[in-house]
Amino acid sequence: MNLFEDEFNSFITICNLNENTKDIEKDLESGLIQNSKIAIKDNISTKDIETTCGSKILSGYIPPYDAFSVSCIKKEGGIIVGKTNMDEFGMGSTTENSAYGPTLNPHDKSRVAGGSSGGSAAAIASGVVNMALGSDTGGSIRCPASYCGIVGLKPTYGRVSRRGLIAYSNSFEQIGPMGKTVNDVEKLFEVISSYDSKDSTSYNNKYIHLSNKNKSKNKKIIGIPKEYFGEGVDSKVSSKIMNAISNIEDHEYEIIDCTIPSLKYALAAYYIICTSEASSNLSRFDGVRYGIKSELNDNWHDSYTNLRSKYFGEEVKKRILLGTFALSENYFGKYYEKAKYVCNLIKNDFSLIFKKCDFLIGPTMPTIAPKIGALSNSLDMYQTDILTVPANISGIPSISIPCGKVNGMPIGLQIMSKWNNEDEIFSLSYEIEEEIKK
């Protein structure tokens, strides 16, 4: 029996809650998120709960272990209510690429919820849960947060363990908290941002909420990157964001214009590297050990080919082929290696920019949520990532918070800051959230 109606196809698996409360520490009366219902994106391993990554190829896969962040949630009293829908293996920006049907936007069922963590965003926006885990490789938390009018944080790379996150692009992705309000997200972030010695890219910098933060005497500087308000961005969205910024200007912030020229290469570098890593990460799916079972015949090579051709979706196959090509001997230097150089360039540019300012603010997405089926061309879909991928490439933290509506649909305001500065991002987010409520 389901505890709620999944009106928007937010969930792939809904949990039997009686089963779930078994794991919770009985003597822990006040975990940080005691008894809070949490939804988990379906690319995050949950022990004994089916985990599909939105793909048919992993249908029936029951992980024998919990992702590190899931263990953290259980330790602090969180209750897992289900696994949320997503673009297959994280590849997409609308959750239309799921093998289990698209997730609908709770604000308008004819529109997408965003992706790839669309299910998590819709679950929050429709009131089923107040908190969820998503993952963000090129914007997959922030995009659906923006389209669904909720809050989503992509943490600094390495601040949340990736152990248990089914890999798409190891160099870019992070598990991150999504929630109804900034406070929900901050709480969940505190729970999951722990050092994990079993993730070699994790480092020791646990986030702890400080109730009396000493506000620094210095005036904080907000940078407005030219690239975030250019011609690719819907003018109504731009003005909404600019409004919000000017509303807080008198809160003692200095606003400056700035530019990050290397950002024009960001999307290309991103897609080369993430497809390359994905082509390698997804090679293990062959129907032999877990997931959908292979019809093994005399020739293992043919068995693998048949299974992968049949059970991977079109977008996934496309990206595997692109990545295989980019890594191949004759092209490695031209594509992969060059893309890596570009990433370093972008990282350096962000380093420099954060010497001049404390935050960068812009829209999260160039438009409101598109209609279902509107982005049928892959390239059009990739273009929508243009404002979110820079944070993944550089590893800096970035949050999307709701910033009113355009044509009746929510839009998100994106705040980026330097590495490990989630602290100040939250401070500023609370302020803007307050302002917008007025």
């Binding site: 995050i44 391993s45 985990t51 990554c53 992993l58 896969y61 992980p63 024998p64 272990y65 992702a67 990736r162 152990r163 248990g164 996150l165 089914i166 890999a167 190891n170 160099s171 010695s197 079993k198 993730d199 070699s200 890219t201 390359s276 890593e277 082509s279 390698s280 090679s283 293990r284 062959d286 032999v288 050990r289 877990y290 293992w300 090579h301 693998y304 295989t324 890594l327 191949s328 001997e329 490695f332 992969y336």
Partner: protein
């Protein structure tokens, strides 16, 4: 073998050794799986389950650096693990994490002792670490043929050592492997007793013809056999003006022959790229803390200088770290005598009984006692052999082990002064006139025959050298 053309082989070896760390290379699964059921030493990481991550076993880097230093390599400043991507049922992630692209150590060498005490340097082009894949077991019976996979081996740390093509004969290859094995055992990074712990691929070309790769050699003897077979095969082809194909061949341990593989590995693109889940290793910071033990060549030199033993005995004693250590535990009474006795007598008796030197460490005082007895000429060499055989048998059977002095007493093995045998000797000389005449007419061995007769008569208690002298005196007296 036809000797029409003197064909000089150029042989290079690619050796994979399993390191004897406690845990696998990227997870904490135990490496001690040989006595256990398949798929019982596995975890999400070595099974490559979705979402699993590798965590480097630091000991393996330490071992890798030790190996590079002991093989005289230059060491890279940084170590970078890469993904080598290919599909195969024994590879759980469909990629192998390896340092293959950028080696840990390079431009090293290992010196081997050829028979006539000539030293030869075999250059080592590179050394690096990588993880072992799982193991396939092929089942072929009447109704079914299928393949089973065991992932216990998946993730075991391997060191890959690649030589330059400096090896010029199957025998040199064997000498090289023996020296390598000795060195690795000195470092205590490798257990040669473990089945499958060493695998060798060999590349061989004759006289500038195409290079043939031989894969799947898993024993030391196999290497020499495979190369010998291959040289014969190629020589016959060359002598009949046939073409040598550049190919990969498989060696079959049971039949000793190589057969052609499927040539599919001619140019596989592994799409190497740096492993994004592992950080770069600052190797240069590790190197300063690494200490090497005394290595075989140095130990051998020290034995020669310190104990004044011959190079031959020093070489044999140091070819096995356990043997070298044992020697130093027992040799103090008379190092020279000890070296000869251990190498010429003890080793043979141990081998005959399939015993290892470590099995008698608990009884090392008995060996010291026996060496003392021999040093003081209390018994003959032949009696000494009787004593050691008895002691070893008792140790092997787990019986109560007798001390040498007790054995000598019990079996009445004390060497008796040759004076007490003079009458017996005189009698034997009288009864062997023909042998005496043969000796006087210059026939070699005739005198030894008589000595032998005396030894028989005295049940080995007389010292043969002393008997020899007495007989000579007796004969010369007679002829005066």
């Amino acid at each position: 073998m036809k000797n029409e053309n003197k064909l000089i082989p150029k042989i290079g070896l690619e050796i994979h050794c399993q390191l004897n760390t406690k845990s696998k290379l990227f997870c904490s699964c135990s490496t001690d799986f040989r006595n256990d059921n398949p798929n019982t030493h596995v975890c999400p990481t070595c099974l490559g389950l979705p979402g699993s991550l590798p965590v480097l076993n630091k000991k393996s880097i330490e071992y890798g650096i030790k190996i590079c230093l002991s093989l005289n390599c230059s060491i890279s400043n940084v170590g970078i693990f890469c993904r080598k991507n290919y599909f195969y049922p024994d590879l759980t992630k469909a990629f192998q994490i390896t340092m293959g692209e950028k080696p840990l150590g390079f431009d090293g060498y290992l010196t081997i002792n050829e028979d006539d005490n000539k030293l030869k340097k075999i250059n080592i082009s590179r050394i690096h670490l990588e993880e072992d894949p799982g193991r396939l077991v092929h089942i072929n019976n009447h109704e079914n043929s299928y393949t089973l996979v065991d992932y216990n081996r998946s993730g075991i740390p391997l060191v890959e050592i690649v030589t330059s093509p400096d090896i010029q004969s199957p025998k040199e290859a064997r000498l090289f492997l023996n020296k390598l094995r000795t060195t690795l055992e000195y470092l205590d990074v490798f257990d040669s007793d473990n089945e499958g712990s060493l695998r060798v691929d060999a590349n061989i070309s004759l006289n500038g013809n195409n290079r043939v790769e031989i894969k799947n050699i898993s024993s030391y003897r196999g290497v020499e056999k495979a190369l010998t077979y291959e040289i014969n095969r190629q020589t016959e082809l060359i002598n009949s003006n046939k073409f040598i194909e550049m190919e990969t061949r498989h060696y079959h341990e049971d039949t000793g022959i190589t057969t052609s593989g499927r040539n599919k590995e001619k140019s596989v693109d592994y799409r190497y790229f740096p492993e994004p889940d592992l950080p770069v290793i600052m190797v240069s910071e590790w190197v300063k803390d690494i200490n090497l033990p005394e290595l075989p060549d140095i130990k051998s030199k020290r034995f020669i200088n310190e104990y004044l033993i011959s190079p031959h005995y020093a070489y044999v004693l140091t070819s096995d770290i356990n043997l070298a250590n044992f020697y130093e535990m027992v040799c103090n009474v008379n190092p020279i005598l000890s070296s000869a006795w251990i190498v010429d007598i003890l080793l043979g008796e141990l081998n005959y009984r399939d015993m290892k030197i470590n099995e008698i460490i608990t009884h090392k005082e008995y060996i010291v006692e026996l060496i003392e007895i021999l040093n003081n000429h209390l018994i003959t060499d032949k009696s000494g052999v009787i004593v050691i055989r008895l002691i070893l048998d008792q140790i092997k059977l787990g019986k109560n082990v007798e001390k040498p002095y007790d054995i000598i007493k019990r079996m009445n093995l004390n060497k008796e002064s040759v004076d007490s045998f003079v009458d017996k000797i005189k009698m034997i000389v009288r009864n062997n006139k023909k042998a005496i005449d043969d000796h006087l007419s210059g026939k070699k061995g005739a005198l030894n025959y008589i000595v032998g007769q005396v030894m028989k008569e005295t049940k080995g208690k007389a010292d043969p050298a002393e008997v020899h002298d007495i007989i000579e005196k007796l004969i010369s007296k007679k002829t005066e």
